[in-house]
Symmetry: C2
Amino acid sequence: MNRPTNDTFLRALLRQQCDYTPVWLMRQAGRYLSEYNATRAKAGSFMKLAQSPALACEVTLQPVERFNLDAAILFSDILTIPDAMGLGLSFVAGEGPKFAQPVDSEEAVNALFVPDPDEKLRYVIDAVSTIRQALNNRVPLIGFSGSPFTLACYMVEGGSSKDFRKIKTMMYTRPDLLHRILEINAQSVATYLNAQIAAGAQAVQIFDTWGGALASAAFEEFSLAYIRKVISLLIRERDGERIPVICFTKGADQWVEQIAQSGADAVGVDWCSDLAQVRRRTGDKVALQGNLDPMVLFGSEALIRQEVRRVIDNFGKVGAGGHVFNLGHGINQFTPPESVAILVDEVHQYSRQYHQ
Amino acid sequence: MNRPTNDTFLRALLRQQCDYTPVWLMRQAGRYLSEYNATRAKAGSFMKLAQSPALACEVTLQPVERFNLDAAILFSDILTIPDAMGLGLSFVAGEGPKFAQPVDSEEAVNALFVPDPDEKLRYVIDAVSTIRQALNNRVPLIGFSGSPFTLACYMVEGGSSKDFRKIKTMMYTRPDLLHRILEINAQSVATYLNAQIAAGAQAVQIFDTWGGALASAAFEEFSLAYIRKVISLLIRERDGERIPVICFTKGADQWVEQIAQSGADAVGVDWCSDLAQVRRRTGDKVALQGNLDPMVLFGSEALIRQEVRRVIDNFGKVGAGGHVFNLGHGINQFTPPESVAILVDEVHQYSRQYHQ
C-alpha cells in the first residue's frame, strides 16, 4: 500500500501543498469512449460488465491510459447494494434501472438486510483489488457508493423518477418506514465502502444524486444525517495514510455549510454554484471538488480553455483550501473525447500559478 | 377595472397590510380535478382546450369555485408564443410537448419574429377578458408567460430535455445565435404580457422553469438579463392600480439576491430553499411566494397542517415583507383534491397571527 507516484489528488483533498490542481471526471469511464463501448459489447450487457472484475478493471483504466487524469474511479453501478439485498436490478434500454421487487410495503422494508460485501458484492471488492494491481500505483483509486437516501429513492420508486412521488409519500405518511430503510442503507453503505477501502480504495466518494430533491428541512433529516452516519463508520486511515471522503450532493448550494460539517474532507459542487461563494461559506474547512458545466465540452478548444480557467479563477489561490477539478455532474455520453484531453491539459497548465 | 373584492393577493405582492396570508397554487387548474378532466374530454385535446376562450375560462374558474383561493391564474400553455412563431406545437402522449420545426440552424433563427398578440395569440387574450368577466372581481386574475430562456430551451431542443445538450451546445458554440433568439423572445414575452394586462390581468408571473439548469455565470447572461428586459418593458400601472410582477426561477436559491434586483415585485421560491434565509438575503426588497413541497399534499390532514405551519413560521412575521403562500412547483396530477382544501384552510387560519 505505497503512496501513489502521482498523489496530487489525495494531497488536494487533504488541503496539502500541490504543484497544480488535480483533475478527474465523474463517469470518466463511459460511453463517450469507443474503447469502453468495445469492452461493453464484449461483456454482452452493462450488468455483466460491472460484475466482471477483469472487465471492470479494463474500463476503469481506459480513461487513465488515454488522458492525463490524476485519479481513477472504480467502474461499477450505483445500485449494487439494493441488488445485493435481492431487489432484482435490471436495465431496460432507454428507461434506466428497474427493480423487480421495489420496496413498496412494510413487509418489503422488514425483509431488507445489510449485504455482506464478501458474498453478493464480492465482484465489486475483487474489482477494487484487480484495479489497484493494474494501476500499479500510478494514480490513486477512488471507491464510491450512492448515499443512503439516493439508494432509497431507487428502491422505493422501483427505478428512476421525475417527481419522487412514492418515496415522498412514504416520507410524509410513514417516516418511520423510511428511517428504517435509511438506517439499513447507512450500515450497508459504510460496510461496503470499508470493504472497498480494505481492498485498496485510497479515497471514497458518496454520490447523493437525489438529496437535492428534498425540501430544505427534510434534507438534514432524511439525507445528510445518514451521510454523517456513514462517514462516522468509515475507516479513515490505512497503513498510516488518511483515506479522504468526498460528499457530492447535486443541487445543494443552499446546504453547503451543513455538508461541510458532515465529516467529509471534501464537498462536491455542481455547475450551478459559484465556487468562490461556496468557498467563503465553507471557510476552508473542506476541499472543494468541481464544478465545470459538462456541456462546456461541446464547445470549441478556445471555449473549453476559457471555461476551465474561469472555474480555476473562481476558486482562486489554493493556499489553505484544496481544489480538485471536476465536472459539476457526470460526463455526457456524446462528449467528443478530444475535448477531455483539452480540459485536462488546461487544468494542469493554467492552475500552476495558483499553487505558488 | 375595479379593485377585486378580495385583493389580499395583490396587497401581499406589494407588501401592504393584509389580514392573512393569501394562497394560490401553481397549476391549480389541472388534471387532479375531475371537473378539469371532464372539460378536457369535452374539448377533445389539450391544445383545443387551451385555444378555446370559453373552455379555458371554465377550467380557470374550477379551482376558484371549489377552494377558497385568493387568486385565479389564466389557464394556458407555456409554449403559446413559439407556437405562434410557427414552430408547430403538438403534444405526444407521455412525451410532453414537441415542435415540428425546432430552431436548430441559423436560418431557423433568422425566421423567428415577434408574434402579434392580436393575431395568432388572440385566443389567449380573449380568454383573459372572458375570465375577467366571469370572475366578476371576486379575486384577481394572474397572467403569465415562460421566460425568454425557458421558451428558448423548448424551441431549440424541440421539446423537453434532461440535459439541455442542444441549447447549451448553441450557447457554448454560437452564443450570438442564442442571444438573437432571447432578444426576440424578450420582445415577444413583453408584448404578450402587456396584451394580457390590457385585457385585464391584474398581476403577471414569469415562469423561468429552466433557468436553474444554467451554470452560475451563465444564468445572469442568458436568463436573468432577458427577464429584466421583459420587466422593464411591462405596463406597471393600469387605471391607477400597480400591476405586480412575480419572477419564479426553479432551483435558483444561489441567485435570489440578483433575482430580487430584477425589477420584479415578488420572487417565487421552490421547496428546496429556506424561506427565512431567502428573506434575510433579499432584505424585504420584494415579496416572496412559496414554498411548500407539492408532495406534502400526499400526507395526512395533520401532516399537511403541520407542514403549512412550518412554511408560515419559516417566513415569520409579515410586517414589511409580503408573503404569498404557494407550492414550490406545480401541483402533482395525482394529488387528492381534499388535501388542497385542507391546505387553503390552514394557510388562512394559521397565518392571521403573523399579520397583527
